[in-house]
Every structure is written in C-alpha cells, then in structure tokens.
Amino acid sequence: MGFQNTETKNSGNIHFGMRIERKATVPEVHYKITLCDGTSCIRKQSKQIHQILDQELRKRNLKEVVSVHLSGCLGMCAKGPILIINPGYVMYGNITEADIPEIVESHLVHDTPVARLMVEENHLYNRFFRIFGDVDFFGKQMRITLRNCGIIDPENIDDYLSVRGYEALAKVLTDMKPEQVVSEVKKSGLRGRGGAGFPTGMKWEFTAKQPAGEKYVICNADEGDPGAFMDRSAIEGDPHTVLEGMIIGGYAVGSSRGVVYIRAEYPLAIKRLEKAIAAAREHGFLGQNILGSNFSFDIEIRLGAGAFVCGEETALIHSIEGSRGMPRPRPPFPAVSGLFGRPTLINNVETWANIPVIILDGGEWFSGIGTQGSKGTKVFALAGKVRNTGLVEVPMGTTLREIVFDIGGGIPNGRKFKAVQTGGPSGGCLPEPYLDTPIDYESLAKAGSIMGSGGMIVIDEDSCMVNIARFFIEFTQSESCGKCAPCREGTRRMLEILTRITEGKGCPEDIDKLERLGAMIKKSSLCGLGQSAPNPILSTIKNFREEYEEHVNQKKCRAGVCAAMLSYTINDNCVGCGACKRACPVNAIDGTRKEKHHIDPNKCIKCGQCYSVCKFSAVAKA
C-alpha cells in the first residue's frame, strides 16, 4: 500500500505549470502546539485554555518561537480538551486552565513533558500518519478522510496548501478530462459514505452523462444520527478537503454550481466553511476560470432547520428549494432530475473528503485499501460503554472487535460487553458472536445491521435491549416526515407497543406484531428513513429475543432499566439508620429506628433514591 504518497509534502506545489500561491511562509519555530478546537472541546473550555496559553507564552517571551494552531476535532472527545506539542508528538488530555502554566514552564522552557497530563500508551507506531502514532487510540486507525484534521489550522488556507491542498484540483484541471476523473473515481471503488453505500463513480457517471446545461453538485452535511459527528468534525477540521472534492466533482460532471447543505445546529462548522469558501475564492480555487482554466464553479451554503429526514437526498433537495423536506419517489433520480429539476450529484461530506486523495494517489491505490466490495476507510463516532470514545477512522475490513476492544479500549468498570449498535437509528444491534464481523457494507448488512453514516454505540450488560430499541424508534418516529403511511403510522404503533412492553404491559403477541409491522415498514416505506427505521427493533428481537420474552412473560428487565418492572426491597443488611426513609419522596418506607425498614410496593414510585442513599447495600433492586 502506497502510504508514503500521502505523507505531508511541503515541496512541489507547482503542478503541471499551474502555480498555487502560498501567502506566507511559516517562521522558524521551536515548538508547534495544536489545540483541539472541535465543538466538544470548546464546550470543555478550550477557548479559555487558548487565552491562558497565549498569556503564558507572552509572559515568558515565547510567542516568537512557539506557534499555536487551532485544529478541528481530533476525535478524542472523551479526553478533551486535547493539546498536542510537536516535535515529540506529546499529547495532553483532560487539561484545565490551571495546567497551562505548568505545561508551558516544564515542557516549553525546560523541555520536560508533564507526565501526569499525557495521554498514555505510547507504543504503537502509525506510519501512515506518524504524528498520531503515539497513542493506542489511533493505532489501528488509518486516516484518509480525517488526514488533515488536527494537523492543519482549518481556518488557514495556507496550512491546507502545505499538505498538498488543491493539488488534486490542479491536476484534474490540467491533466485530466472529465471522463478520466469519473473513471478514476469508479476505479477507486469508493461507495457513498452517507449510509446506502451506492458506488460513487456510478453516481458521477449518471450525472455526467446527462445532457450539458445547468447541473448541480451538492454536499450533504445534514448529519443527524444521535451521537454521530463525523461530518461535523471533518468540516470543522478540514473544510478545504470537502470543497476541493466538490470542485473536482463539478468539473467531472459538468456543473458550475455547488451547494453545501448543512444543519443549522453546527455553527462552528458553518463558520469555518464560510471562511474556507471565501479563502478559496480569493485564491482562485472557486469562481470564474479556476486556476486559469476555462472551468468555473462556485459554492453556496444552505442551512437546514432541524429535520433529520433532510439527510435523504430528495428531501434535502426539497429543503434547498425552500419547501418541506419530504422525500419523493424515485425515479427520477437526482442525477436526472434533482435540484430545481436539473441533474444533480449529491454526496455526503465523508465521500467528498475522499476525492482529493483518490485523484492524487489514484483510484488504484485507493482500491488497495479495504475489502473486496468496500474500499477505503470509514469514520465512526465511537460512543457508549467504551473506554475511548471519539472519532475512529479505520480501513474497511477492520473487525468490530478491533474497534471496540483495541481502539476503544474495551468496556469500562469491568462490565460485560453485550452488543454494538452500528448505523444509528437506521442500524441494528450486533451481539458477541458478530464481533469478528469485518466492517464492510455487505458483511454488516448480512449480520442484520448497516454501515449507515457511522454511528457506533457500545452497549454493556447494564443496558436493556428493549429500551434501546425503544429509544431509536422514538427518534425515527419523531423525525418521520409524515408523508408515507407505513412510516408515519407504523413507527408510531411500534413505539406504542415497545412502550407498552417496557412498562410491563406487553403481551406475547406484541413481539409478533413488532416483527410484522417492522417487515412491512421496511419493504413498503417511501424513503430510506422508513425503510430502515425498524432495523434496531428487528435486530434486537432477532439477537435478544429472550429479553423481549422476559419483559412480556415474566415482566422482568434483566438489566434493571425498565423502572416499571423493578421492585425495591430492603434486605437483612438494614441497620435501621433511617436514611432511606428520609430520602423517600413519597413516604413509601416505614420502620422504627435501628430496626429493619420496609418498602410499601404500592406507594413506591421506583425513583431509586433509597438505593442510592443506603450505605449498607440493604436496598435491593430486582
């Protein structure tokens, strides 16, 4: 695998006679600090840390020799705020304002890294990106989409240029005919990263083959799965890659207009995108006669307004057109009749971000990564009951086990692994036997889940599978656009049935009803939202049927999650201290001092206060 090709190259910005100008050269510095400026770190006060850092550097006259970069999400949100000091690739995590003077004094002045703040486990070496090779979390990862995230300052186009930014565009404009670009993308085997996994090259070809005239290129940045933030991080960390991909796409299919449709809930990403577009225009990467060629292309940003279904391409188009974001039947496909009735190429953020690399290093190189049917890498937002949470980019074919246990570091608190949920509300829950499933479109589908846009939630034995299924259907149900009957009515009925089951009011037929409704909704719904909404339920019924049956037949929730099925009792450990009695908000506990207390099950509202205040493990939950 030709990894060396993608390593940072600072020379050779002149590509086939086309010069990409760089504005300033970076001054000689001793240390380069990268501070994660992703949304999650900002919430954890990274802005204040930046300020304090600036003050400290000023105080010690280090401003000249230490450069500070803000980067997009580094993907280690669990350990944020993150700060990296180069050379040495020392990564600090969970830092606070108070830690800054110490880091500056010790590391920058005395060249002694502060051990207690360092993110540990420095044994794996990633030759793909040495810079991230120090930490196990990044060990099995392979960064293509996120290759620049954390390395460059996303608000500085020169930084992007220094990592071969816009070189792919220059190559395309000077050296390649549009058909060649399409065939390179086809050769790469890249498939859509938005969820369905449609071969990207074919999509490009369809659009390119439409009669010339007004055509559109759209970047779908309406990321909406709960817990997923791959696209946000990619845009926040490296907006130019996405833009470059789109411009190349425009050239390939004969379009001069691009639109990024991004959720209004991502203000930072929007800001960076706006900045990047302005800078790209200034540098002649966008606008009339790009880089002196006769190809013109410009990009405009359109905001969503809080509708998950707008991630579906026809709904997204309606939303850009200023209408209710409701899907329509296909055909015609957007490639034939899309935005404003014109041929339209829609890809999601991650797909676009792969394009420049494919052009630079070739479709063949790209197709060498991954599995037979699924090429390249995939970014996942790893969350849930796992030690390391954050963004993970791995080559296709990596197993779920590798992600959960090697990269994710396994389940915390000594709990047992129960399942991993992929594909967000459209995906399924896979239990232990599926852990060695390689991650690719076909294998995941065969296992009863989907790749989806890349959410990955780890579930341990403390979670109730019925409750989890209920959570996901509650989400899709509330995001159903309401157009087609199976999704609008059917998901509501599924939610009602699941609610009934979790409240201990289910009956055995309810499980059959869920399966029957689920199968119908999957096959009959108008769009992907409805067609995949039953997946979390169907897969949990398939893999955890016994939990459903326990809920229904024995009114028992083995994970102790479904409150209605819990009962609290006081056992012989009770010393009669009275703490539980005082804590009970509904006076359900009775007992004299220094004697064993009792809970009146008729009064108890199962709030669990007694359980948490008892110091003698005398309150039992079952």
């Binding site: 359109r302 905001l303 969503g304 307004a305 200023g322 209408s323 669990g608």
Partner: protein, 165 residues
C-alpha cells in the same frame, strides 16, 4: 420597543430584497425564516405574512415550511425556560403549589411566555431528581426542594441577573 421592531423589520426587508434578486428566489425561504428568527427570536404571524407577500410565496406554503422544521419557533421563547416537574414524587411533594406560584408570579399559563420575553413556562415529566422533589429546571439547571415562597425568590433572582446583563 416599536422602533426596534421597525428597525428589525427593515433589516429583514433588505435581506428579502437581496434574496429576491437571486435566481430561484423561492428557494431562499428557509434562509429568510432563519433571518427572521434571528431578529425576532421566533416567527410572529405578521412577520410570516410579510415574508410570504414579499417573496410571492403562498402563506400556506410558508406555514407548512415553518411548522415542518423544528428549528423554527412559532411562539416567543423566553430567555429562561422554566420546566416544572410534575412526576409522581414532585406531585406528592407539592409540585402543583409550586406551579401555581410560578403562574401567579409570572402571569402566564403553561406553554406561554411572559410579556418581557424573559420566562417561558413548561411542564415536564420526571426529571430524574426525585430525591430533591419538588424540582424545576430553568434552562439546564435543576433546582430542588422548592416551595411557593422559594420559587418566587428564585424567579426574582433570575430577573435581577437579566437586568444586570
């Protein structure tokens, strides 16, 4: 107050006029609604009427769009959203008295916003803080062990903070 509204309206008109210059001007409806909400905090009916007329978009279409997207508020939302927990524990411990006290103090019913746009009152299902019932949540903060008197004091505290800011 009226003048400010006028100024905001003018800003919106300028924004709409700019959108109308562009191709496929209808497609800027969502952008215009974003702008209107940014200016007014929500989408007042008079504003929607004017947007529809100026953009030459049927009012019903605009209404369909405004109600489809969760981002748009159709009623004013106060600076502080008070959610009163009416779960069993809170109910037993006097949540209704707390709720009545808030209603009296603010002069609003559930779902409404005070005239000064400071408070919006909601009811909530169990907030999971039964141990300190009755509780209310103001924006993201939870306050427990309240009674009618304490809650009024709490509201006054927020009023003061708002004045300072």
């Amino acid at each position: 107050m009226v003048e400010m509204a006028q100024e905001k309206m003018d800003e919106l008109r300028t924004f709409i006029a700019a959108c109308m210059q562009k191709e496929y001007s209808d497609s800027y409806l969502i952008a215009v609604l974003h702008k209107a909400q940014e200016l007014f905090g929500y989408l007042p009916v008079e504003v929607m009427d004017e947007v529809a007329q100026r953009m030459n978009i049927p009012t019903a279409h605009l209404w369909g769009v405004a109600t489809f997207y969760h981002y748009f508020n159709l009623k004013p939302i106060g600076k502080y959203v008070i959610s009163v927990c009416l779960g069993t524990a809170c109910y037993v411990k006097g949540a209704t008295e707390v709720l009545e006290a808030i209603k009296r103090e603010l002069g609003v019913e559930i779902g409404q916003t005070t005239a000064d746009n400071l408070f919006t009152l909601h009811e909530a299902r169990c907030l999971g803080a039964c141990g300190i019932a009755p509780v209310i949540m103001i924006n993201d903060k939870i306050y427990g062990e309240l009674d009618a008197k304490k809650v009024v004091a709490l509201i006054n505290q927020y009023r003061k903070t708002a004045q300072v800011a």
